[in-house]
Symmetry: C2
Subunit: 134 residues, 2 copies
């Protein structure tokens, strides 16, 4: 069912410093920051030859990554995203297998403009998993 690893998302407490780490120290191609008001985050993409790293920084008081950064003040891997062909088929298969889908179970439009869902980390060996229809 799952296809490519679309991205690894890393929440960071200092976006400028994280961009400098990836651009200058690690020598990768780093996008400019984009506010995602619908998602409560600022995103920066690090483009690798085969996938992306998504740097996440809180936007607004209700950002969904504020609690994560309180627990992980240095930052850390927030989620990983797998591509699927049909998100409703994938969701129904995952639910039938006992995986919990977060929220109301209906796909939302993610930061890339495509339908996404998140799966409960407790059902994914401690890893918050996003699935994205491509």
């Amino acid at each position: 069912m799952i296809g490519r690893l679309n991205h690894v998302a890393i929440a960071v407490p200092d976006l400028e410093a994280a961009m400098a780490l990836y651009r200058t120290t690690l020598g990768a191609k780093v996008s400019e920051p984009v506010d995602q008001p619908d998602h409560g985050v600022v995103t920066v993409f690090v483009e690798l030859p085969n996938t992306k790293i998504e740097l996440l920084y809180p936007l607004g008081d209700k950002s969904p990554i504020v609690n994560f950064l309180e627990r992980n003040p240095a930052g850390g891997v927030h989620h990983i995203c797998y591509e699927v062909e049909d998100i409703l088929v994938a969701r129904d298969q995952l639910k039938a297998a006992g995986a919990r889908v977060l929220g109301d179970g209906e796909p939302k439009i993610g930061a890339h403009g495509k339908p996404v869902l998140f799966l409960h980390p407790k059902d994914m060996f401690g890893t918050l998993v996003e699935i994205e229809q491509v």
Copy 2:
């Protein structure tokens, strides 16, 4: 400097269950387990079209992931691995930029038979980063 994302490593407390999740529920191609006595882990590779997920399970009492699993009993992302062309050049650039290299700073032969080094998570926004020469 960094090239492809070689793999995302996920430490798991139950290898059989994790293999079943990736093979059956998520429908991915999953290798058989391989003991890595030099590294204190059992590895299973989940082959995605563009990269790999490496499932890690402790091997022996001194496994380097025992502490991680005590802190994260459900499992979790343990490290991410970027490919580099020349690990000594990469190491020296990273050290010059202030990143701490773990251990004695000399590359070891990793689970794929290639030279690897690990960078301190505190210098990588809470993410344990492996670099592997390819």
